[in-house]
Amino acid sequence: MMLTKKTGRFTIFRQIFLTVSLFLGSTLAGYAQDAPTAGEMLQAALKAMQAKRYEDAIDSMYMYLGEVDESKAPRVLAISQDIRYKLGSILIAENRMDEAAPILQAYVDLPLANHPRQAMKMLTMCYFDTGAYEECVTAVTNALYYNENPVILSEKVTKSKDGDDEEDYSKVKIEPEADYTQEELTTLHMTLAESYFNIEGWAECIDPFTYVIEYTPNEQRKGYSIMQVINALIEIPDFDRITEWIPLLYRTEARFDIRVNLALMNAAAALYEAEEYDSALPLYRMILPRDELVAFQEGKMREIRISYGLPPEMNAQLTADEMLLFGVPDPTEAVVEEVEETPKEILELEQLIIALKGLPPYELDIQYRMADLYKTVDRFWESVKFFDMVFAVDPTSEVGDRSIYELVDMLLENLDELKEAEQRGLDYMGKYKTGMTPRQIAYMLTGYYQKNDTMGAIKTLRPYIDGFVRTNDQTIVKYDTELYFMQAVSELVLQEYEESERDFKFILDEFPGSHQEANCTYWYAMSQLFLQKYAEAFPNFERYINKFPAETYVDECYFQGGICLFGQEKYKEALKRFSYVIDTFPDSSVFPEACSMRGDINGSEGLLDEAIVDYRMAIAAAKKPVQATYAVFQMAEVYEAEDKYDEIIAVVESYLDVWQAEAEISKALFWIGKTKIQQKLYDEAVSTYVDTIVKYGGDLREDGVDLMIAELVKISQIYLNVELQISLSDKLEAAMDAADNKTLKLRLRVTLAQLNQTEFELGKELITELENLDNASPPVLATICDASFEMKNYSRADEMLRIFINKFEDSEYMRAAYKLRGFGQYSDKDYEGTLATINDAQALYGTDFNVAWAQLLKAKVFLDTDDIENARKENMSILTVPSWRGEPVAQATYQLGEVEEAAGNLAKAFAFYQRTYFQYKGHAGGYWAAEGYLASARILDKMERMNDKRNTYRAMLFDPYVNSLPQAVRAREVLGATEVAEIQAMIDAGTTTNISITVEAEMTGGAVKSSETVLEELSATPAETSVTEEGE
């Protein structure tokens, strides 16, 4: 490195100074005759210096230098240099660095400098202290270069020995100035490094810092230098090299230096930002807690104070032990000294400790960053630990808030520790009810439950959400809206429609104009739709359409509005609405459904061709298999009605081609089989069904298999001869033996039981055999339900109905579960529950023959609850339903007797009972007729018409439909053995009874009247009874 000549602001300063000095000098010379000579100035300067009058010395020196500036005399030059060196030294001592710099620079630049090394060193100090880092770099570089390559031309100039006036100077060689000591070299390198660092010479500062690290005996300085190297490497950036330095830093005392700790924080943060996590982590770990730093520095302060002979603590005195230990002779003197002049080292350290104590606690931030860092690199358990620590220390701080959030998030998302997450989250929400974080946690838990399909758990959050303190903060309001919205959605998914209806309404009322208003309106209406509140739902769909015409669900609202109209039996309006959807939203997801619905309406009105067109449109537009499936099989139904079996085959095969594995294959094959039956290809149909059952029967979701089982049983019973029936059973048994799949096995067992008519026995077996019903398909469940019903075992009724609702909502077999559940509730006298179940069943199945039980049971509930009017009405309504003719009507007639009996209308009651045994003895194996006899006798007994009563019993025993039934025992008991024997003899002799008990009312008598007529008659006049007896 070459020596460079320094020019800069200090040079300018020097020039100004000299110019001013010269000007002053010449001016003063003009006015003051006694102006001092240069020699006098020199003398004055030296004297002032000796007397430690530095200000005077400085003035004199400046004046002297100004005076001799023009001189070329070697002696003057030499003296000037000496004065410059002295002046520079005094200025530094006086902390006038900016003045010292140009003086020393001149000294270094001019010849005849006796102390170039020291001057250069001082110069570096001046530049550094005044922030002239670039100049400082040059100065240090020059100093170091000079130290290695000194110019040995320094000569001492002395006055000649003869002392003549004539100046005669000779030059004497002097000893060269000593090299820098190691300590000086280290200091120079430190100055150089720091200067480079300050002018962002990141790469350049590393070498001098490295030199300091290698040579300094001061651990503090060493550590600081390492830290600066790390900072420079961050700035370069050269992260790979940072890792090498960290262990070195760790081993130095600088770890306890607050500057190093602050720098560590910055460095760690920079590394973190640069995603250099492996380098950032040890730095974070190295950062010491503030209290630890303070304790260390205070300990150090004590040591330093003692080393200066001061008491360890400020304003304290050395103890006798300390004096003995550290040898301080006079503690009083030490205290005096402290007051007068505290060493710089102590002052600096004091300032450091004050600054340290003034720092806000940073430990939590560090721990938070570490936790975050661990999370970033997937070290989740470490992260949990650190977040936990932060939260435990200060749960209400910002980092505490973030920590609990991160904790719950990680436990849920990264560690799948649901219980722990719930425990922490719920605990937090229970304690802290304000602000964002509890909401965020509730939101997170809700999201987790949604994602994992545990909607029930969402509702457990409700009390916490209700407990949050409301605010007008828009973000928080948005969270609250969202949380309540998700509550309502969970209820919707759980099919708790009444709750979801209530809660969507709650959001609409509590958070008007919220970001979820449109969605809430839609789902509110949908909840009502699910509750079959068609009339209430419709205006809400309309509101959505009007208020949010550009929102997502507009097409859906039009469609669902159509469903509401359909539900209200406003078919024409519904048809119009579906047509509007079809015309307006051809790309909508509800387009296929709209087509199917219109097809259904057209079909129900006999417009089969139009219906077919609609179904075809639905199939063509279907985006999901279910959309095509519905239309295809509805079409099949239409074709079946028209005996168009080839068309059925065509549409079903096309469906299978299009949807492949997504199609409901078993259902399709069911229709193909059905077609074959119509074509009288029984063997093929059976074969198709058996193969399909075996192939797809292992999958619970294949409800086509279940349809096939019913169909197969029907084919077997109607079309197959005994030989073929046996063959079919054998095939099914073989398949059952070969099957491993539990679902398939159970399906085959049920099929066989139905073929062999042993369902009840199988049902009884399965009740005890199946602890869980996971593998039970609908026919299996129905078999169990039927057997349970027969056995009046309602213990699993609720469970089975729930399975149906959750897994097989569309299954035809669900009726059995409703029946079991309804009667179970009735048996428990849970009349409200019974009526709810009945309503559900009737909503699904209407007036299907095998759901007549629901209406009958409803009437019984009203009777049991003394609601005579409704009991009468509900029983009467049975008589009006054509599909319920037969046994249901028989039972209803009997039940009407019960109603009237309960109402005290004995004659009417008698009339219904009598009608039961007159008209319906052929139904239910004569059960209701037998009951009618007994009830009639009971009424006659109440009417004290003992003879009529006896005749009724006699008639019962004469009646071949009932006289062998268990109820006939009662008649035999009443009549006694003799009369029973007599009756039996008469029967054996071929006598038939003509006993008739007449109750004087229009509806009595032998003529069979229609139910409608009976209803009219009953509603007209109360009957008066007169009883006659005829005997033969």
């Binding site: 890792t243 492996d278 989740f380 470490e382 630990k385 650190f386």
Partner: protein
């Protein structure tokens, strides 16, 4: 080679000098006694707490209580030097580099060569090559291991040897090392010996012994480490990892137990992937990588590197480097393109401005001309 030759001469000179004076036997070492005085000697045995040695140049042996000895400083014999040269533990170049250092006496040069040799051997362990380390260090320890109860310049290497034996499942040898260290008065050495014995007990499924040792440990971090190791062998991974995280949280600056603990966590994360599907190999991979990087230049760092590599770390890192390079190249290209586009844009803007100015000037000229014409007309 010339320098090597010279260095060999240095050795032989020492040997010849020694032979010339008195017959001496034993392991050469520099003894530092409790009062700070030092003496060269040949160690002969350490028995019953007493060290017997023959001072250099003295025909007689001496026996002193070992507790009076502050430390021992072993040096390398010529036979050992030759062996290490032959095994290439230290290269000719390395010897040459030391030999040319100015102002160093022969003894100091020999000391540096020994130090370099030991560093090179330690480096084998730092690479996770425990078998290689054992075979390199065993010859040095063969005659010296009986003195390991006294503080010496081979302490760290001896502890590493003990751990390497354990990792190689040579439990007999590891236990012997541990027994030697337990004779020491140095609490840290004793603690390490105990932990090694505890870990061996775990490997031998003797958990009650391991637990008893855990209770004896004075260092909380060490005790927690043992506890986590026991929990690990019981397949209670979650509990084990939580125990380790306590070490990480509460003893972050314990350089003795932190590296081991962090590496243990890496193993635990991997083991958890079998029992908890949510934890992925990434956790183990990243933990191992951090241990490898943070504790580079240590035996644990070496083990971490091997574990990391076994999880595919090297491949992933290589891919990341390539990806990074590609990203940087893409960014550079994009920057260049942007600069080029900016240049074009500026040129176009300039051209546009100039055209507009020209147009304006033309319009002005036209207007002037029109005015002139008008004036003329007027």
């Amino acid at each position: 080679m010339k320098r090597i030759l010279v260095s060999l001469i240095v050795f032989s000179t020492f040997a010849v000098c020694a032979q010339d004076e008195v017959v001496q036997s034993g392991t050469p070492a520099l003894i530092e006694v409790a009062n700070g005085k030092k003496a060269s000697a040949f160690l002969q045995k350490l028995e019953g707490g007493n060290l017997t040695f023959q001072p250099r140049k003295s025909p007689n042996s001496m026996t002193v209580p070992a507790e009076k000895i502050k430390s021992l400083k072993f040096s390398m014999s010529k036979v050992e030097f030759d062996a290490f040269r032959e095994m290439n533990v230290i290269t000719s170049e390395e010897v040459s580099e030391i030999y040319v250092i100015p102002d160093l006496g022969n003894a100091e040069k020999l000391e540096l060569i020994f130090k370099k040799t030991l560093n090179n051997i330690a480096e084998i362990s730092y690479q996770g090559d425990h078998a290689g380390y054992v075979s390199a260090i065993e010859p040095i320890m063969r005659d010296r291991d009986q003195y390991m109860a006294i503080d010496n310049n081979l302490d760290d290497l001896y502890i590493m040897l003990m751990e390497s034996y354990r990792k190689l499942e040579n439990f007999t040898a590891a236990k012997k090392c541990a027994a030697n260290l337990q004779e020491s008065s140095d609490e840290i050495k004793i603690e390490k010996a105990k932990v090694t014995k505890g870990l061996i007990a775990i490997s031998e499924n003797d958990l009650s012994t391991a637990d008893a040792i855990r209770n004896e440990l004075s260092s909380e971090a060490a005790a927690l480490y043992m506890q986590a190791s026991i929990e690990r062998v019981n397949k209670n991974y979650k509990q084990a990892i939580q125990t380790v995280t306590t070490i990480i949280a509460d003893h972050a600056n314990d350089l003795e137990w932190m590296p081991k603990s962090e590496l243990l966590n890496a193993y635990l994360y991997l083991e958890m992937t079998g029992s908890n599907s949510v934890i992925t190999t990434n956790s183990a991979l990243n933990t191992a990588r951090q241990v490898k990087n943070i504790y580079a230049g240590s035996s644990v760092g070496g083990d971490a590197r091997i574990f990391w590599a076994s999880l595919g770390g090297e491949k992933i890192e290589a891919e990341e480097i390539i990806a990074k390079a590609e990203r940087v190249a893409a960014e550079k290209l994009a920057k260049e393109k942007r600069a080029e586009a900016e240049k074009v844009r500026r040129a176009e803007a300039k051209a546009k401005r100039e055209a507009a100015a020209a147009e304006k000037a033309a319009a002005k000229a036209t207007a002037a001309s029109t005015n002139l014409n008008t004036t003329t007309e007027n």
